[in-house]
């Protein structure tokens, strides 16, 4: 019997006439990596925004460790232990790498304001392999390193649940392998992860389970190999099967 850390119950969000997330429910087991997949515009990112409190949902509930977090503002959700990365990088470009990591650390509950944070930021930079550039200005980093820094900053919040929004997108084959290793090492540290991802090879090798969304609805749930052979899922990705 696995222990649940997060539960989404009939969450719904509409923008004007468009229902972006339509009564979506799923559970998240402690320590697992859940892939949230589906074609573009299917409501994955909106779901992530509902969990992280960036958007207020119309109805439904989200629980974290038995506590209702839906309806809380984003800053409160973060302090409860949900961290995220952003699809479009949101680093503070005129701060150093270390300072950007401290952003993740400085505002979590009970964190004293002292030099120790600078030393601790090294630990998170080590995990993502960025400690040799700790003193660089964030804007001087390459795209890949900026993605690493986003992750280090999210880790610095010491979250119970980590939301990765297409964190592996745009990496080349070698970088992808390294990225997959980083995500796996984070899981080993005991963090539960939800990842929105398009890179199928990463989903196959990382995810314990997948939830597939299409047009705002959950259409499938199961292991990666189960869902990716599901005819409904194949159709959602390919459109109508091409009968030649």
């Amino acid at each position: 019997m696995t222990e649940m850390i997060m539960r989404l119950d009939r969450t719904r969000k509409a923008f004007g006439g468009l229902v972006a997330v339509n009564d979506v429910s799923f559970d998240l087991a402690r320590g697992e990596i859940l892939g949230l997949i589906g074609p573009n515009g299917s409501g994955k990112t909106t779901t992530m925004n509902l969990i992280s409190g960036a958007l207020r949902m119309d109805r439904g509930t989200i629980e974290l460790d038995g506590e209702v977090i839906s309806g809380l503002a984003a800053n409160r959700v973060a302090r409860k232990g949900v961290a995220r990365t952003f699809q479009l990088l949101r680093l503070i470009s005129d701060m150093t790498v270390t300072e950007n990591v401290v952003v993740g650390m400085a505002f979590r509950p009970g964190q004293p304001w002292n030099e120790e944070m600078v030393a601790r930021s090294r630990d998170y930079l080590d995990i993502v392999g960025l400690s040799d550039k700790a003193d660089w200005e964030a804007s001087k980093l390459t795209y890949i390193d900026q993605k690493r820094l986003e992750l280090a900053r999210a880790l610095a919040l010491e979250p119970k649940v980590l939301l990765l929004d297409e964190w592996l997108a745009g990496l080349n084959a070698t970088e992808l392998l390294a990225g997959i290793e980083i995500v796996r090492s984070i899981q080993k540290l005991g963090t539960t992860i939800i990842m929105v991802e398009h890179v199928m090879s990463a989903i196959h090798s990382l995810c314990d389970r997948c939830v597939v969304m299409n047009a705002g609805e959950k259409i499938a749930e199961g292991t990666p190999s189960q869902v990716l052979t599901d005819p409904l899922v194949v159709e959602a990705y390919l459109g109508e099967p091409h009968h030649a």
């Binding site: 409190g53 509950p109 030099e115």
Partner: protein, 320 residues
Amino acid sequence: MISRSPLPYIGILAIAGMVALLPFIVSSFQLAFAIGLLNFAVLATAWGLFSGPTRYISLASVVFFGIGSYTVAVVGEVMPWPAVLALAALIGGGVALVVGLATLRLAGIYFVIFTFGLSEMVRQLVTWYEVNVTLSVGRYVFLDISQTQIFWQLLALLTVVMIGAVALQRSRLGFALRVIGGDETMARHFGLNPTFAKLALFVGSSMIMALAGAIMAPRWTYIDPAIAFNITLSFQVVIMGLLGGMHRIYGPLLGAILMTFLFEALSDRFPQAFSLLLGVVFILIVYLLPNGIVGRVEELIARTRRKPDNTSAGLIGERS
């Protein structure tokens, strides 16, 4: 980011110590000028403390300054001086709290527009109260406080504000403001409450302005709402902050020093054209020094260090 070095504090105290000797060597006319300068230095620095990191342009400095002056006019003779100052700061902070709670959770434009008319509203309320309740519009301030004492009080206030500004920059709140200034949406996702941080700063900055108003009040001997809440003062403060550069602690201070001399020269030579010239100076600053003198100097330094890189397209009007 986190620094314990006492050097900036020592520097500020040393400079303040030297300036404190000024009343012994200058004429009373020069002292009066120095008082005006110190007052603007305090106001502009307090303004920059809030508007710099948040980019919320406050057009209401005179509201808090006027509240401070009026507090002195009302209770100056019945309470001990330190209690008067404390009360002035409290009232200023209280008003700022109400204004901030209503507007700081909204986009910056609402705040600007609200502060734009706030001085007019407060002036009307005070006038109405004086006419209907106390039955006289003006008040006399008879306090036994000399020019020199006013000078030292303002200098002490400025010193405290500068030290406070350095301490703020090294504090968690100061760091929070840099994060909010960098990316407010992102900041929320790391446990930061931007509205709270902005509110704290706005209240603090307003209390300083109220204190300046209180300290300056004994200079006037006569105060009425039109004098205490004259919107031109707000305007002067904004222009000083912009000229110096509001993204650095010492920017508004620099702007205050330069502008006070400029105002003095202008109002002497062209008393009739004061508004016009101010307006023109303002427009020129927006075009030529968008980041103030400090920003321009930093730009020049950066340019000599490395070649400029032409980065990022604008959001609006590319190619057009």
